[in-house]
Symmetry: C2
Subunit: 481 residues, 2 copies
């Protein structure tokens, strides 16, 4: 793994991109005016219009194949431009053209769909819904590709380039896995490049090496068939709320480790190198706690906060309920009690394994009498879960992204782990390809919030990174693999 102190940039690429700056921004602003809020059924027409706009632009940019792909919900855009070079690697770029809702509108300094450029001490920023999440990051690929072609003198990209721009990311990507599976052959790629994330901060350029997976369940603990008067029965029948509490209390051990049998068996251990690089991030625990609105950290012994959030699996209680919760008291033994649980997984855990581990764990709780006679417990897993994804530091695709970012930003590139889970993992899973992240968001971009913005310079560096990446991947990708 090279430490990548930031290889020298290509002056031609950079000057091409700077020359296109105004045109790039003018087009992006036009797109940002389309209120493609996928969560709002009233804006479905705007999401359609956004897809059409993008398709036309991509056609104009030279993509020989451009299609609007309908789904049972809102449409995605697909574009493809194959390389004339035989044996060129195939890259699928993922982004989305839908945006978050804009409430509360009165907290915006300018109208969310009337984008405005503002000067800041760091340079210009573009304020508007979707500026960075994710239209700006999709759009920089058109500029990056143009720079790649113009500065290399090519008429086709050095890689077979596919673009998949989803229209439902901000409303749960409900139809995305279906879309992927239905188009698996056409989407086939050697590498997936996701452009929907960010760097660690303005001074710390980074890429993400993995995302956590997810599986969720509901735990239902049932005791007496009805609520009982605690005077007549309390102390002599098992209380399902107490049993639930005991189950949840033993889901972690004293070291903060999840107690499901075999839970950690498949976990890819953090290598010393990755731990070092994670530790090199200028993590400010005070600021992180302020974001968390918490006064203390807590978690698995032996791991830092960043490791706990990104590189370690967890089990969280998302909700509990049962019995009386109104004003005053009600002296009952409740008939039932419930919890919602979610497990965040890291590579190479399998969601299906967690399900069977949980069932074994429950069986053991019967054996050790945590679940006494008179109480039944069922766990219902609502979905098949989302797999984690992780690209090892020494993977050629990650190395190429690292070099591309390093050249564009002129700096060392560090690595982050994403604690959340998303459609990116579905991409990796369905397409059986490594997923890398080329994203230039900043932590203060206010995504999902009023006054969302993109730093214009970062968008341009994103384009520059993409231009480098296609040449780099074409040159370094192991052929015949």
């Amino acid at each position: 793994v090279s430490d990548n102190p930031g290889a020298s940039p290509d002056a031609a690429v950079r000057s091409y991109i700077q020359a296109q700056r105004e045109a790039f921004l003018a087009d992006l602003i036009e797109w940002l005016k389309i209120a493609s809020i996928s969560a709002d059924p009233d804006q479905a027409g705007e999401v359609e219009r956004s897809a059409q706009w993008l398709a036309e632009q991509l056609g104009g940019a030279g993509f020989p194949i451009v299609e609007v792909w309908p789904t049972a919900g809102l449409p995605a855009v697909y574009a493809q431009w194959d390389s004339a070079d035989p044996g060129a690697p195939t890259v699928l770029v993922y982004g989305h053209h839908d945006v978050q809702p804009v409430d509360p509108v009165d907290l915006w300094d300018s109208l969310p769909f009337e984008p405005s450029l503002r000067d800041t001490p760091h340079g210009q920023e573009l304020v508007g819904r979707g500026a960075i999440d994710d239209k700006g990051q999709v759009w920089f690929h058109t500029l990056g590709l143009a720079a790649h072609l113009a500065t290399t003198g090519r008429t086709t990209p050095a890689v077979n380039l596919k673009l998949l721009v989803e229209g439902e990311e901000e409303s749960g990507s409900i139809h995305f896995p279906e879309l992927l599976r239905a188009n698996r052959e056409r989407l086939r790629a050697d590498v997936v490049v996701v452009s929907d994330t960010g760097v660690y901060d303005r001074d710390t350029i980074s890429t993400t090496t993995g995302m956590r997976g997810l599986i969720e369940c509901q735990l239902d603990v049932t005791g007496p068939r009805g609520d009982l008067h605690s005077g007549s029965f309390g102390g002599a029948v098992p209380n399902p709320a107490t049993v639930l509490a005991r189950l949840l209390a033993t889901l972690h051990d004293d070291a903060g480790r999840v107690t499901l049998p075999g839970y950690y068996d498949k976990v890819v251990a953090l290598g010393d190198r990755e731990r070092e690089l994670l530790a090199a991030l200028p993590f400010d625990e005070g600021r992180w706690l302020a974001d968390a609105q918490s006064t203390a950290t807590y978690g698995e012994a032996g791991f830092s906060t960043l490791e706990r959030v990104g590189a370690r699996p967890t089990a969280e209680v998302n909700g509990i309920w049962g019995g009386y919760n109104g004003p005053g008291g009600k002296t009952i033994v409740p008939s039932h009690a419930h919890a919602k649980l979610s497990f965040r997984l890291v590579a190479a855990m399998e969601p299906a394994d967690v399900r069977s581990q949980f069932e074994q764990w429950l069986a053991a709780r019967h054996e050790d009498a945590t679940i006494p006679p008179g109480i039944t417990v069922t766990a219902t897993f609502e979905k098949s879960g989302v797999r984690p994804c992780l690209t090892p530091l020494d993977h050629p695709a990650l190395q190429a992204v690292t070099r591309a970012l390093g050249r564009a930003f002129g700096t060392r590139v560090l690595y982050t782990r994403e604690g959340g889970s998303g459609p990116e993992a579905d991409l990796g899973e369905v397409l059986q390809a490594p997923v890398v992240f080329l994203g230039v968001g900043l932590p203060d971009d206010r995504i999902h919030a009023p006054n969302e913005k993109a730093d214009v310079e970062f968008l341009l560096r994103g384009a520059e990174s993409a231009a480098y990446l296609w040449s780099d991947l074409a040159a370094t990708w192991p052929r015949g693999s």
Copy 2:
């Protein structure tokens, strides 16, 4: 403690009572026609009318002092008839003249306020709301007193007799403690006789030796100031739902004992004799479980179900809530989690002690890190609580009640413990007098349900018991105490 095989009854008392049977029932039926439902504001006039009816009847029965006592809610009736005998003990009889609502009316075989007499294999029963709970049991005292006077040739009772008949028992006795405290001097008594309970079953005559006390609290566990995304923060901040679970999980030890420090220190241990007598009750665990709608018992090691319910203190989780409880999942670390707890107390526990024990217990949970930094826990006790009451088996008042019941029913009298808590404990506490229970309800009387009934023979035996009790107390009460 005498085993009381049932001393021989007084033929004169019994025949007097039998002679009055029809008049007794006719008057009771008149009273039962008054729909004195205290929980229904529309029936407030009926509760007033019930109080007036009773006051008139008690005046007619010879009580020199009869008053309707207003409260901030519905009225009580007070009557007093002092003994001419100097040094006679003073007895306060407690009952109530309000009744439960009658819904669902269509499940009644006859109209709830059109009482009807029915023949059964056991004799006659009187069906109607309030027949046993509690008008029938208040009313038998008028007959018992008349029999006492008639058969002893007295013009005043052998004891100073006070009657307090509440009008809000079925709606929470909200103003009762206030009423007691305001009239503490006039209500002063050596013994409180409660007639609002029952015997173990038709073949097992018993009296209650104690009721459990009660104190309730709400536990609020707060972590991050807002719900957090479990992807971004899960695994690295303390989860208040997990902390709540750990607290509730350790509220009992593996033997089912409550872990509050000193919780059992003041508990009056069950004596061997009382355990024997409790064990002598024909307890049918299968039937009890059917009533509990539970498939298994559970509780403190070393105690029977009846002991657990009546003679041992408990801690119950009455409700839990926090975080997400809707359909599907929501991957959050909840900001807060809550529980409602209630503690049933037995003599001689003090509600105020439990409060401070709970606070000590919470402090220890901070020390042992069950409550980690970043989490705050508060316990809010909503009321001052209700004290438990217990009359020892060898107490003269309990002995007298035992003898009176034994003579009336011609059988051995056993003892029960009441697991619930009620205004009876307030009586004992405010008046600083022992509380004994002279009640003739049967487990199948359907109190609070459609077709409430009273067994006529049991009501008459109640009257007979009262007649014996006044003479017995006068003769055996330790003078000068």
